[in-house]
């Protein structure tokens, strides 16, 4: 049995503990929230730019930092290359930094995240662009309006695109030769494509798969939806943006432009969507195409360069990748995506987004302009790891060593197919992508799985789009 009598000394001691705890709680409650930037040495007054690590190696970072220091010696710049496997992973890490109170001033954002950042975190660049219109005339004259439009949200511009990649078709010339097939014409059709895959299959061994694709938002099912004249979500354009088009683009190029894309109602059960999935399922059944593999296609370079794959969709970024893998310039080539109902292509672009939380917005704008300059991009993109947004940078000299021979396809995709547009990436992009990837895997398990999987996809997409981000 315990003694319940409290001595005066004990009472006083517990009283003191209580008072101490209350004092600590009071101090904690009245103190401003501590964040990562309160750690000594973290916030050194630099303009912080977060970039996607794998795309920006140490050499690129040095190029950007030194070049910017030469132009703006008064602005201290720190580039934080965030290591991530894809854009979704990259955005997750940036948001974690924001939650930790160490938000960067600028974030390199691709189409996948343009609207997410614009809606919740971004600062529109409109007043800066208007102010520095004279300086930017040369930039806009060099950049296709479709790329600029993809960086707009509800009538306002949030980023200046510096690179893009449209999903064109890469073909292995050795495999074409083995199949006795000619390089396809620019207006080749889906039937030509299927026939080519069959020819390739017939002339190669069992360890060969004619068509390889990766299950993701960019370059997965979506190019087939575009070619089939449909989309995952209904697409329209927001009003506005006239201030930009009227200031920088001639009448012919500004026709039909608006204030950015809107992706709203899910249409996974649309007949055309189902038809696209049926087509891919039939290719899989026939052994002409890989099953939808998740991830970022890490092993694709290896299997394509060694002739175990004949065709795959990719953008200008792949020219540099194949060259680095040891593929000769004439060993592969690129052609437009085949025509089905349309020959509309899909693309993704990227640029720097200015965050609302930044206390150095003017300095950040100077960096955005610097990063979009031709000389900066020439130094940054010298190995063809992407397609520069500036048309003037795509020259024969650039692709002479790495290939492909038909390098003009990269930019002509935008010019020759004016309806070419960005991948559907509303502010709810993370959930939409997750649903798309999940049910694409299920739908293509067998031909009979397509319809039930698309019905479930529709339900989940509707739920995702109802959420406010």
């Amino acid at each position: 049995m315990t003694d319940s009598n409290l001595t005066r000394r004990t009472l006083l001691r517990y009283g003191a503990y209580g008072a101490g705890a209350a004092a600590l709680a009071g101090t904690a409650a009245s103190w401003d929230r501590l964040t990562g930037s309160d750690i000594p040495g973290r916030d050194d007054g630099s303009l912080t730019v977060a970039t996607l690590g794998p795309a920006y190696g140490p050499e690129a970072i040095r190029t950007l930092t030194e070049g910017f220091r030469n132009v703006h010696p008064d602005i201290k710049l720190r580039i934080n290359a965030v290591q991530a496997v894809d854009w979704s992973d990259f955005f997750a890490k940036i948001l974690t930094q924001i939650a930790a109170g160490t938000a960067p001033d600028l974030v390199y954002v691709a189409t996948e995240g343009v609207q997410l950042f614009a809606k919740s975190l971004g600062v529109p660049l409109d007043h800066y662009v208007r102010r520095d219109a004279a300086e930017l005339k040369e930039y806009f004259a060099d950049v296709h309006p479709s790329l600029v439009e993809s960086m707009m949200y509800e009538g306002r511009l949030y980023q200046l695109p510096v690179e893009f990649n449209a999903a064109d078709m890469y073909l292995n010339r050795q495999v074409l030769q083995r199949a006795g097939a000619d390089f396809p014409a620019p207006d080749w059709t889906r039937d030509d494509f299927t026939a080519l895959l069959r020819g390739m299959k017939k002339s190669s061994g069992s360890q060969f798969t004619p068509y390889f694709w990766t299950n993701r938002l960019w370059g997965g099912v979506v190019p087939w939806l575009f070619a089939g004249g449909t989309n995952l979500l209904t697409e329209s354009k927001a009003p506005g943006g006239a201030w930009l088009w009227d200031s920088f683009y001639p009448a012919a190029e500004r026709e039909g432009r608006g204030g950015g894309f809107r992706w709203t109602t899910p249409q996974a059960t649309d007949d055309r969507v189902e038809e696209a999935y049926d087509y891919l399922a039939s290719l899989i059944q026939e052994g002409l195409c890989t099953r939808p593999e998740g991830g970022n296609g890490q092993n694709l370079v290896g299997v394509f360069s060694t002739g175990r794959v004949g065709v795959t969709p990719a953008g200008g970024f792949w020219a540099g990748g194949l060259h680095l893998a040891g593929m000769k310039a004439d060993a592969f080539d690129v052609q437009y995506f085949p025509r089905w109902r349309t020959q509309r292509h899909q693309f993704g672009a990227a640029g720097y987004a200015l965050l609302r939380t930044s206390r150095k917005q003017d300095e950040a704008w100077e960096f955005i302009k610097y990063a979009a300059r031709r000389d900066t991009l020439m130094r940054l993109f010298d190995t063809n790891q992407t397609t520069p947004a500036r048309r003037s940078m795509l020259t024969a000299g650039r692709y002479e060593e790495s290939g492909p021979r038909h390098w003009q396809v990269f930019y002509d995709t935008l010019d020759k197919f004016p309806d070419t547009g960005p991948i559907p990436a509303p502010p709810q992009v993370a959930e939409v992508t997750e649903v798309l990837l999940k049910y694409t895997g299920t739908a293509l398990a067998s031909p009979r799985s397509v319809r039930p999987a698309l019905r479930r996809m529709q339900g989940d997409l509707e739920k995702a789009m109802e959420r406010d981000v």
């Binding site: 003694d3 001595t7 979704s88 955005f91 997750a92 948001l95 974690t96 924001i98 939650a99 919740s120 975190l121 069992s206 360890q207 798969t209 390889f212 299950n215 890989t290 099953r291 939808p292 593999e293 998740g294 991830g295 890490q298 092993n299 299997v303 175990r308 993370a430 959930e431 997750e434 990837l437 999940k438 049910y439 895997g441 299920t442 398990a445 999987a453 981000v469």
Partner: protein, 315 residues
């Protein structure tokens, strides 16, 4: 006439004596002990207690990182209970746990018993190192390599089975095969831990017990079932508890190998927590799933300890 005596209520013979006041030396010892314990206690509070309490609190709020949290009551739990993906992920995780832990223990125990037999010391060392080695590698790196090996079209595994005339298996792209493949990769990496525990446990069994059993005529499997296993049961309990907790928290292997697919067939609870929080910015819901997982782990562990009273024999 009787003498009546008034009996007073029982009263202690002596007044309660207050504990003697600790001497100055005792107080010094206590202070020293407190100081030594303080870093551990602070560590546990900061890195375990606070995050657990924080998760429970956060599960009652809507929070997307960007805006301030808003109180949601039990809305996150209601959302989680009606979400088919969450339900499937719990089912996948339980199935994964059962098969992965069973396979892990069975393989580790078989190998430990084999290695405990007669064998040159150097060979035993080679095997021990080889079995333990995968455990020191990063799960993500192993999964990347395994993804290449198990690729349906270009993987080495299908190439090898193709040599004996078996058609390519969709290891990672079929709803039926994917979870099994993830279990294979997980067990290959993890069984080394249980193996090491069993080796230690087997070495602690006195030789005399085995000799006595042999004299009584016990041999082979019978000796293992009636002598080795009962004496190894405390180690078996530890290996099972740790194995179950680890398996219920599996993330890296399914994330890298299949990203939860095809469909939801390999999506685990921790993957759902990651995706809900860091990709969809629904931290409240993610915390609610985390709390449910915490409760599940506690319940399964408690059940294991409860059952252990019957099956575990301490020497």
């Amino acid at each position: 006439m009787t003498n009546t005596q008034t009996v007073s209520p029982a009263r202690p013979l002596t007044r309660p004596v207050a504990a003697p006041r600790p001497s100055r030396r005792d107080r010094g010892t206590r202070l020293l002990a407190t100081l030594f314990l303080a870093p551990t206690v602070v560590g546990i509070v900061v890195f375990t207690v606070v995050p657990i309490v924080g998760s429970v609190v956060l599960s009652l709020f809507h929070w997307n990182v960007i805006d301030s949290p808003s109180f949601a009551g039990t809305a996150n739990y209601r959302e989680v209970f009606t979400d088919s993906t969450v339900r499937v992920s719990f089912l996948n995780t339980l199935v994964f746990m059962v098969f992965a832990v069973a396979a892990q223990l069975l393989i580790a125990l078989s190998l430990a018993l084999t290695l405990n037999g007669r064998m040159p010391t150097w060979l035993r060392s080679v095997f021990r190192s080889a079995f333990f080695f995968p455990l020191v590698l990063s799960a993500a790196s192993i999964s990347v390599v395994m993804k290449y090996l198990f690729n349906q079209d270009f993987g080495v595994v299908n190439w090898l089975i193709g040599l004996v005339g078996i058609s390519p298996v969709p290891w990672l792209t079929s709803e039926h095969a994917a979870l099994a493949t993830v279990i294979i990769v997980y067990v290959w990496q993890q069984f080394g831990f249980s193996f090491l525990l069993f080796i230690g446990g087997l070495n602690n069994i006195p030789k005399e017990v085995h000799e006595a059993a042999s004299l009584d005529g016990a041999t082979g499997l019978r000796k293992h079932l009636h002598v080795t296993l009962p004496l190894l049961s405390p180690t078996l309990l530890v290996a099972t508890v740790v194995g179950v907790i680890n398996a219920l928290q599996v993330f890296e292997q399914p994330y890298v190998l299949t990203n939860g697919g095809p469909g939801d067939s390999t999506r685990t609870v921790v993957m759902v927590i990651y995706e809900t929080a860091f990709e969809q910015l629904r931290f409240g819901e993610a915390s609610a799933v985390g709390v449910l997982l915490f409760v599940l782990i506690m319940a399964v562990t408690a059940l294991q300890f409860r059952l252990s009273r019957r099956f575990v024999h301490y020497q």
